[in-house]
Symmetry: C2
Subunit: 220 residues, 2 copies
């Protein structure tokens, strides 16, 4: 990763500004990171449906190109803003700051920021979120945590997706969980299928609790 | 992507050096790009087996961390060098130049460089290869070409992998091929399954022909 220190410093400054704005509105923010096709948007679609009436969700969709993901999320009824990075391989705090201006923050409890599909670069950029979560699909293989350690280390939650494909791949769920824990012993891990709904009760209960901490003030 | 122009210029210079070395030895080189878990290494394992006695293969394995992929390839008997980028999200020409020094180029017809798992950043860095190929798995979804256009535009070949999962996902092969062609009308497209061997006859025949161009001199 080609990271100019000046650029990271400028990003941190903008991220602090975003965090202030979110705090002022009692909005909790989750930055979701994962490979292209890890199932981030599908996870989010089903999550919005599951949390209806429990948590008021806002979504920022980060993509290099197209507005497809925002269109998918808009259908669920959630507040959503698409950010196109135009080639950039990750969101930065400046892009998120501009997106925040377009969201009715007073009506949002939990902001989910879906980063550009990339298991490497997004982890280095603070967007002003409270927590980063990594999404890894069963189809990607159980050997990824130690191959991409920086992202798993930067995240407080890991969501294994596409568990409906477990029988059709060589993926070993136990091995994957062990690998994640070997990289980051403090991470909370969920196993989900956005097709069947498996694991959504645990994931959404955790998200609801996570969102609630915003409404109660930041007493963590 | 944070790209200093100076850095890209320095990379181009080193890539030209790699190209000269490869040319001198009559080695053709393919730079393989794809998401984490797209199935690049599995494709390569089966490709090495299929090309035994037809093409002498060398492999450079690019990963942020671990030597797992090189170990997998070594088992096939192919010449392989692992490069760990230590955080960098793509290989660069300097890393490949150092790896070339460790390979017996006089005994190699085709060098396959497996880049770091990342569908975005590697496309911008010339390694001295003759051609870039993008690998996209059925599990990633048919909507990726237009969401990650720069990589599909930079590549001369696209390999759709994991076709054994077609019935277990919403992936529409026809739509995906159309999307790839919409981004890049000059790309050759293969559909493969490294589990069943589907599509390997076409893919390996093409690779053999590609490798042969090195032995015959660069008359393209």
């Amino acid at each position: 990763m080609v990271l100019a220190q000046d650029l990271l410093r400028a990003n941190s400054h903008l991220a602090s500004g975003n965090r202030e704005i979110l705090d002022r509105h009692g909005v909790r923010a989750l930055n979701i990171i994962g490979s292209p096709g890890a199932g981030k948007t599908a996870l989010l679609e089903r999550t919005v449906e599951a949390l209806k009436g429990r948590v008021r969700l806002g979504v920022i969709e980060g993509d290099i190109s197209t507005t497809r993901d925002a269109e998918r999320i808009a259908k669920t009824g959630a507040q959503v803003v698409q950010v196109n990075t135009g080639g950039n391989c990750h969101l930065n705090a400046g892009m998120v700051g501009q997106a925040l201006e377009k969201l009715p923050l007073e009506k949002i409890d939990l902001l989910v920021i879906e980063n550009v599909g990339n298991l490497v670069c997004p982890a280095a950029f603070d967007l002003g979120e409270d927590l980063k979560a990594v999404v890894l699909s069963v189809a990607e293989g159980d050997d990824k945590p130690e191959k991409y350690p920086a992202t798993f280390l930067a995240c407080g939650a890991a969501v294994i997706t596409k568990t409906d494909l477990l029988g059709h791949t060589d993926f070993d769920l136990k091995r994957c969980v062990e690998e994640i824990r070997a990289v980051n012993g403090n991470i909370i891990i969920f196993s989900t299928s956005s097709r069947t709904g498996e694991g959504f009760d645990e994931w959404c209960a955790w998200l609801e609790d996570f969102a609630l901490k915003g409404r109660m003030g930041r007493g963590e």
